[in-house]
């Protein structure tokens, strides 16, 4: 067993007592110690808490207690989820040093499943960005090429998987923040149906779009983690009170004969890198070989998805981020006993928020202003309805829809940081899924011939039919693995110091 193994392999080794959870955690901490100075996937390591949890799992296993399938397997947690007593920064100066007094529901579920949380991963500030360059604590580097971005906002989580710093990670996805990082790092990332995983303890960026989900190196590992974190939560009014589809069984099934798979016409062409399109098409050919029926579908309103998203998400964020006011927690600037509360609030928000966050707060504040509300927020909501209708119509004809996850492979750090619109275009294929509240998965489908960097393949499934994307993803992954002869990450150049 090695840290390059998949989570399911590690889980089996733990169950067979070939390795203890403490040893496994320590091996990962060693890897982090040797590679993370270059990758910078982590913002905080909770060694003490993780080893205590690992020890507990080992003790229970020694006592013959029944444990959940992933007990003892390490995990990296995106720094946007609260974990009691562990610093949670959301990649922002605003929250530097804040230790939440409560666990998010996802963390509660991870803990009770015996999963060992190694630490908190880097992200674009408050999950706003597509490159992790907007982190107040410096960018994360893509393990495939350290001069490139790992995607965002969850670049830290995906990079930690690609760098073998953790076999599992939690991400959150508002417009693609799980899937796009997965695509550019050659890993798997899933955004479950909105309401499928509790948002309680997920520091909100855009409440109606945010969704936490699993990140892993294989579809099955993602399914195993999905099963742990999903389910109804009375603390989240928007969580869905329905049984979680059996995603693990779906990931293992590998049989997609006769399934109808729709290629979205609008998610191709202009702006899509040539190598991305060719790898995507090769994967589609694999699906055909597996007996799936490929149908071209048209979703004409997807054209407006990006514009509508950049009204809805900033509007909600302008309100969600109002609570960062220095009064009860986090950063406080200018409290000299002379300045008033209002001035201290202003100074704190000026100093605490980065440029992209401020840009979106200003955008959203403007879009919600009286006199503009109908034209901006109101129209965007209408577009959202139209996008939902496009999906509904497409799902009448198809079981799942597919597209490239991101239009390009990983770009260079700094390349787009002064061009917000170019940056926003990275999420053009992932945003419609959030707008409609359905499920989306990204899995690697090859290396683009121009740059030898991983390409992401997106599978979209109807609301609460998350099992379908796991079914198709699992089968495609198996077909590609046998075609390549080894996992895609084995094609990546070896990181300095990596085991």
């Amino acid at each position: 067993m090695s840290i390059r193994d998949n989570a399911s392999v590690m889980a089996a080794a733990l169950a067979n007592k070939e390795i203890s959870a403490v040893e496994l955690a320590n091996q990962h901490y060693e890897q982090i110690a040797s590679v993370d100075k270059n990758v910078h996937a982590f913002l905080y390591l909770d060694k003490e808490g993780a080893l205590a949890q690992a020890k507990e799992v080992d003790k229970k296993r020694a006592a013959g207690e029944k444990l959940s399938p992933l007990a003892g397997v390490p995990l990296a947690l995106k720094d946007v989820m609260t974990q009691k007593g562990v610093p949670t920064t959301c990649g922002s100066k605003m929250l530097e040093g804040w230790r939440p007094p409560y666990d998010s529901t996802v963390v509660t579920k991870l803990k009770s499943a015996g999963i060992v949380i190694l630490g908190k991963t880097n992200m674009d500030e408050f999950a706003m960005g597509s490159s992790t360059e907007n982190s107040a604590f410096g960018p994360t580097h893509n393990p495939w090429d350290l001069t490139r971005i790992p995607g965002g906002s969850g670049g830290g989580s995906s990079a930690s998987l690609a760098a073998y710093e953790a076999p599992l990670a939690i991400g959150t996805d508002t417009g693609g923040s799980i899937r796009q990082p997965a695509a550019v790092t050659g890993t798997v990332g899933v955004k479950p149906t909105y309401g499928g995983v509790s948002r309680y303890g997920l520091v909100a960026f855009s409440s109606s779009l945010d969704q936490a989900g699993p990140c892993a190196r294989t579809v099955l590992d993602a399914a195993l983690l999905h099963q742990v974190i999903a389910g109804f939560d009375p603390k989240d009014s928007t969580s869905i009170n329905q049984a979680v589809p059996d995603v693990v069984a779906a990931a293992k099934k590998l049989d997609i004969k006769g399934m109808k798979i729709g290629v979205v016409k609008q998610l191709a062409g202009d702006g899509y890198q040539k190598g991305v399109e060719s790898k995507f098409n090769e994967a589609v050919a694999e699906l055909v070989k597996l007996g799936a029926e490929i149908i071209e579908v048209s979703c004409p309103n997807f054209e407006y998805a990006l514009a509508a998203y950049y009204l809805i998400a900033p509007s909600e964020c302008s309100s969600n981020l109002a609570r960062f006011d220095s009064m009860r927690f986090g950063l406080r600037i200018g409290d000299d006993g002379v300045k008033g509360a209002e001035e201290v609030m202003n100074l704190t928000r000026q100093a605490g928020f980065g440029r992209e966050v401020k840009r979106r707060i200003i955008l959203g504040t403007y879009a919600l202003s009286s006199g503009y509300y109908d034209a901006y927020y109101g129209s965007a909501q209408k577009v959202r309805t139209l996008i939902k209708r496009d999906f509904d119509a497409a799902f009448e004809k198809c079981d799942v829809l597919i597209s490239p996850t991101a239009p390009t492979t990983a770009f260079k750090i700094g390349e787009k940081s002064n061009d917000p619109l170019a940056m926003y275009l990275n999420d053009i294929a992932t945003i419609p899924v959030n707008m409609a509240g359905i499920g989306g998965m990204s899995l690697p489908c090859g290396l683009a011939e121009e740059d030898n960097l991983p390409v992401g393949f997106q599978i979209m499934s109807p609301a609460m039919k998350d099992d379908r994307m796991y079914l198709v993803g699992g089968a495609l992954e198996a077909a590609l693995l046998s075609k390549w002869g080894k996992p895609i990450l084995d094609f990546a150049p070896k990181l300095a110091g990596s085991k």
Binding site: M81, T82, T88, C90, L95, W98, P100, P101, Y102, S104, R199, Y200, G201, L202, V203, A204, S206, S207, S208, P234, K235, D236, S237, T238, S315, E316, S318, S319, A322, R323, F324, D325, M327, R328, F329, G340, A341, E342, M345, T365, L368, S369, S370, Y373, Y377
Partner: protein, 498 residues
């Protein structure tokens, strides 16, 4: 030369609008499980949700929805099959999220009315107050600005924040404009708040204690020149905290606005604060530049869509309307208007009714509670029911009716119960207050009296009935006042052949 109220009202017609905030008496807050008890140590009834900590999410309190629906039904409103919460965005230190979660353009109840009566110059006069909406929202925290002269945030040295109140469920009841009340506007405003308070109390959805802030009223008032037919600019007098203040605030605004208009000045649209001591208002925030709250639907909550069946079930549980109940009891007990009003004002209607339910005569029950007991209660600054129970008063009244106590003895019994000597029976036996009703014991005293005053007895025998007084007095004296004088008289006269 400034106008007084009567002069002002001759020239100007007031238009009212009333906004009442009611703190519901749910055990937990609007969006979290925190306790709502009044007067707890600051910041002890808080959690990540009501402190607005990052990541926390609201969940609607079902009991609060139930209470809101009950209020809507009692005010003759339609209950919306689908309503939503919105976010009202503004920054203030005592508002944890810097937005208030409140219903906005989709309230839970709309279009109701409440009829109120006032005492006009020519008898009782009824007004229908139309209700525009009833909506739910959460309260903010409480700020205490220390230092500085005004108690306001500007000029304060520092401020203390208590978030116990943050997230307490509030219901806001907003009237449509109330026109054509003329000079009665202040009385109508008061009567409306009083009637609303009674309804809320009968529904048991709020403590409705104005002095503790669980019922707060904003009085909106504008004047238009009589005959002009044009509504004037209104002022909003905030958080008026007693019925009397509601009336005074409305009257005060009539005078203030009339005088401004007379002087050729314009009325500024603003909030004003009521000053308890002077009965006047002072200016608060100007509303000339409408604040932009950037309302939008609260994405963290699903819409409130109460089941029609549930609404009908709640409708069935509505108690009798307080005004109707008052009329019914007044007729049943034959109480004159004035006494009825006294009983209602003293808030003793429930107590008297409970006493009557235990078999007491309504008039007796009323006179005990409003008389003797209220007098002591007022002296001590407590509620009558804190001094003695309904059951004890009912028992005392029953003992009088059966002749076991005289009125005079009964007063001593009640005095004893209030003094903590136990139940009426305890006091009777401890103090030996039983009426001497044993005929043979009385006969002995009567015979003794006759023997001691033979001449007087002879006069009575001869038909001089009033002369019996002296004999009765002697018997009463001999029995230590514990005999029933009427009974003594009856036995004595019979004994002397009368």
């Amino acid at each position: 030369m400034s106008l007084n109220y009567d002069q002002a009202i001759e020239k100007y017609e007031p238009t009212l609008g009333l906004e009442v905030h009611v703190e519901l008496n749910t055990k937990s807050k609007m969006f979290c499980g925190c306790a709502t008890e009044f007067g707890a140590q600051p910041n002890t009834q808080t959690c990540p949700v009501c402190l607005g900590l990052p990541g926390a999410l609201p969940v609607v309190n079902k009991k609060a929805i139930e209470s809101s629906i009950l209020i809507g039904l009692a005010l003759n409103c339609s209950i919306a099959p689908f309503s939503r919460f919105a976010r009202k965005n503004y920054f203030y230190p005592d508002m944890p999220k810097n937005f208030q979660t409140s219903q906005y353009d989709e309230p839970i109840c709309v279009n109701g009315f409440l009829d109120v009566e006032i005492e006009a110059d020519d008898g009782m006069k009824s007004f229908r107050i139309e209700i525009e909406r009833v909506h739910m929202e959460e309260d903010t925290g409480k700020s205490l600005h220390v230092g500085g002269s005004t108690g306001r945030i500007h000029g304060a040295e520092y401020s203390l924040l208590d978030y116990n109140r943050a997230g307490i469920p509030l219901v806001e009841i907003v009237t449509k404009i109330v026109p054509n009340t003329g000079k009665y506007a202040p009385q109508v405003a008061r009567a409306y708040v009083a009637a609303l308070r009674d309804i809320l109390r009968s529904l048991n959805v709020s403590d409705v204690k104005m002095e503790q802030g669980s019922l707060r009223c904003d009085v909106n008032l504008s004047l238009s020149k009589i005959g002009s037919g044009k509504l004037g600019t209104r002022s909003e007098t905030k958080n008026v905290n007693s019925l009397r203040s509601v009336e005074r605030a409305a009257a005060g605004e009539v005078i203030r606005q009339a005088n401004r208009l007379e002087a050729g000045e314009r009325i500024v649209q603003e909030t004003r604060h009521f000053l308890e001591e002077s009965g006047q208002t002072r200016p608060g925030r100007s509303k000339e530049q409408a604040e932009d709250y950037r309302y939008f639907p609260e994405p963290d909550l699903v819409p409130v869509a109460p089941d029609a069946k549930w609404i009908e079930e709640l409708r069935k549980t509505l108690p009798e309307k307080p005004a109707a109940r008052r009329k019914r009891l007044q007729t049943a007990w034959s109480v004159p208007d004035k006494e009825m009003a006294a009983m209602v004002n003293a808030e003793l209607l429930d107590t008297v009714e409970e006493t009557v339910k235990l078999g007491a005569d309504p008039t007796k029950a009323r006179s005990w509670w409003l008389g003797e007991v209220s007098r002591v209660a007022n002296d001590r600054g407590v509620l009558p029911t804190e001094l003695i129970s309904v059951k004890d008063i009912a028992q005392v009244i029953a003992l009088i009716a059966s002749g076991e106590l005289t009125d005079k003895l009964a007063r001593q019994v009640v005095e004893g119960v209030i003094a903590g000597e136990g139940s009426p029976s305890d006091v009777i036996s401890k103090r030996g207050l039983k009426v001497v009703s044993d005929d043979s014991a009385l006969m002995k005293a009567i015979e003794d009296a006759i023997a001691a005053q033979p001449d007087t007895a002879e006069r009575v025998r001869g038909g001089n009935i009033p002369a019996a007084g002296a004999l009765i007095g002697a018997v009463m004296k001999a029995t230590g006042g514990q005999a029933d004088a009427a009974k003594v008289r009856e036995l004595l006269l019979k004994h002397l052949g009368q």
